[in-house]
Amino acid sequence: MFGLSLSFLPFVGGADGPRNAAPVVLSHDQVEEIGRELDALRDRTVADLGAEDREYIYKIIKAQRGFEVAGRGLMYLGFFPPAWIAGVGALGVSKILDNMEIGHNVMHGQYDWMREPGLNSRVFEWDTVCPADQWKHSHNYMHHTYTNILGRDRDIGYGILRIDEAQKWNPYYLGNPVYAFFLMMLFEWGVMMHDLEAENVIQGKRKWRDVKPLLKGWWRKAGRQVLKDYVIFPALTGPLFVPTLLGNVTANLIRNVWAYSIIFCGHFPTGVQSFTEDETAEETRGEWYVRQMLGSANIEGSPLFHIMSGNLSHQIEHHLFPDLPAHRYPEMAPLVKALCEKHGLPYNTGGFFKQIGSVWAKIFKFALPPGLVSSDTPPGVIVERQKTAA
């Protein structure tokens, strides 16, 4: 009655539509070999973690704190436009480093091995309005466990956008580019509200009881952030209250636009695959790895670009090894890419403008009903799965 049977369960990209080329087929053995090789790469990196990684993260923290202090200090010269611009720039860089190369990565547990109380994923807080514990639920758990599984990964469209062909169109999505623009500008607030699942609350699928603790966390965290940026620091510059306030608003805006752009480049450029719950039920470790690779996309750039993106420019490596220090991804990336090439798998990467361009193209395209636009789903990767027949 029960036994092993070989069945084909395709991981297909997008929905049904014409395909330009034949899909890549990965055998079960290939998937398991990929899993073993990635595990071995992981083990090598873990064994090598030590003093250098500690020095790296402290170097970044020192730079971030330096930019922050410089930015706050320059606001006292806010009457002099070049100083104001430099201050806003320094503060923007500080917030970007804090959120991306430090906050995001520390809260993934990437530096837990250092056992440094100030860099521990359980207690770390970042310079943004979203409380760390809520973000760790929506991001570390919901997004990283169920990456690109429609109906499970709430990062697909964030409950607001239509960003994947498999999301059913309705007239609300005509506003897609407008929603995306506002999400970009107010990104930190969007991130904060992510765990609320607003559309489920509106539809009555989520109860007030579940929402109440979230609101308490927002009040506590966002309250302090707002007080700091929009009351205390402006007040400390006395007559320059308004320029300082505007400077802080602008710095937050810079961080929002940048973070949004980097994050959207991680999963939404052309060529990224999404999956269904059925396809991904009872995945093996190898299958989990393959899904992470197919569901993510990298951005090419200079070392400085990678630092400023929190190494989320190496989104593929990040999704394979979310808990390894992100500054290790650049050295791991060539090996991951070679592994993909060996098995004929796509390794989705490109320059920033190419990737962000294709993201915005999708945002506009998926605003329209499917009948009006052509479907150009890339060739999917089909994974042969060995599945226990029930």
């Binding site: 923290i61 250092m114 440094e116 310079d127 466990t145 205390i232």
Partner: protein
């Protein structure tokens, strides 16, 4: 009273200025900024700078520490946790100050024995130098002298267990305690006795202090030879039933003394402090018990992951992916050995954050849930 009144406004002002700075630094703590300038300048965190290093025996090192102003002092016999960074990782260990609790310079004196497998003790023995900054916890522990002081005291120690009882001895001498104090110390040989000169000087200078040195690997010299037994007790403290005994040393000595006191029916006069390193259980062993200390629940180790065992015990720890990627279930393991099922690595460090969903207990484990 008047002192308290006059100092209050100043404290109030300092406090409000501190909270303003803390609000400016939010969401980070002020110390996360200050430590980048110099690690000894902190507003909340307690740290200590090594100001003296002395290597008195071949395998021990005595460190004199100057704590930051948050230090609240200690009582003789208590311990502190010391944190030190080795190859990028901060390791924490417990040590008992050896100096008198009444010492006025505010320093903390630690004597550390370099155990062959002891990462921290080896590091401090080889690398400690003046200027090194360590993490320090406030003192804790119930192994302290009662007040009022007992009339007769027997202090028993072995090896590096000398530090808390030496602290008691020094404190009592400082206080000009008039009751009799017998200090019985066990070492392999005379060369292994830390503080030998000082112990002799204390005994010479104070008529009520008698020093008894027992050697386990040396047949000449000293006062006693071999391991603790009732004959040792009879020889050094025939009045033991009328005294309070304070004991700290290696597990063998602790067992020996406890047994004798139990047979004599005077266990309630024995006060102990354990300094045994966590044992690494044998490969493949799945025995022991899992204690969920915050919930007061204990269950037999079933061999399943700690998350599953916690749930089986009726607890509801937070969890997410159940596969080691999301860190939702990270919990502090207060003691015991765990094995990470993904890497196979075992971990015996106390007070370490582990992921419940990919950790299985190896022998007894205590978790803070």
């Amino acid at each position: 009273m008047s002192v308290a009144h006059t100092s209050r406004p100043a404290e109030g002002r300092r406090f409000s200025l501190l909270s303003l700075f803390e609000a400016m630094a939010t969401p980070h703590q002020l110390d996360r900024y200050l430590e980048l300038v110099t690690p000894m300048v902190t507003v909340r965190d307690l740290r200590a700078e090594v100001v003296g290093v002395q290597r008195s025996t071949a395998d021990t090192v005595t460190l004199t520490l100057r704590p930051t102003r948050q230090w609240r002092g200690f009582r003789a016999g208590q311990f502190v946790q010391v944190g030190v960074v080795i190859d990028g990782v901060r390791h924490t260990r417990c040590y008992s100050p050896a100096n008198a609790q009444s010492s006025t310079d505010g320093h903390v004196e630690l004597t550390i024995k370099a155990h062959p497998d002891g990462l921290v003790s080896q590091y401090l023995h080889a690398q400690a130098r003046p200027g090194l900054v360590l993490d320090l916890s406030q003192a804790a522990g119930e192994f302290t002298l009662p007040s009022p002081r007992p009339r007769r005291l027997l202090l028993v120690s072995g090896g590096s267990g000398i530090t808390p009882v030496l602290s008691m001895l020094r404190t009592l001498v400082d206080e000009e305690h008039v009751g009799s104090i017998t200090f019985l110390h066990y070492a392999y040989t005379e060369n292994d006795v830390a503080y030998l000169d000082e112990l002799r000087a204390l005994a010479d200078a104070n008529a009520n202090v008698s020093l008894v040195l027992a050697y386990t690997d040396q047949e000449a010299g000293g006062h006693l030879h071999g391991f603790f037994g009732q004959e040792h007790l009879d020889a050094v403290a025939p009045w033991y039933a009328d005294a309070e005994t304070f004991l700290c040393g290696p597990p063998g000595l602790m067992r020996g003394v406890r047994e004798v006191y139990r047979e004599l029916g005077i266990e309630d006069r024995l006060h102990t402090e354990e300094f045994a390193p966590a044992a690494t259980p044998a490969e493949g062993e799945a025995g022991g018990a899992v204690s969920f200390t915050a919930s007061g629940v204990t269950a037999d180790n079933s061999g399943a992951t700690l998350l599953e065992q916690a749930e089986a015990a009726g607890l509801h720890p937070e969890y997410g992916c159940r596969m080691g990627i999301c860190f939702s279930c990270t919990t502090v393991k207060t003691s015991g050995c765990t094995r990470n099922v993904r890497t196979g690595d075992t971990d015996t460090d106390p007070d370490k954050a582990i992921q419940l969903c990919v950790s299985v207990p190896v022998g007894d484990v205590a978790l803070d849930i």
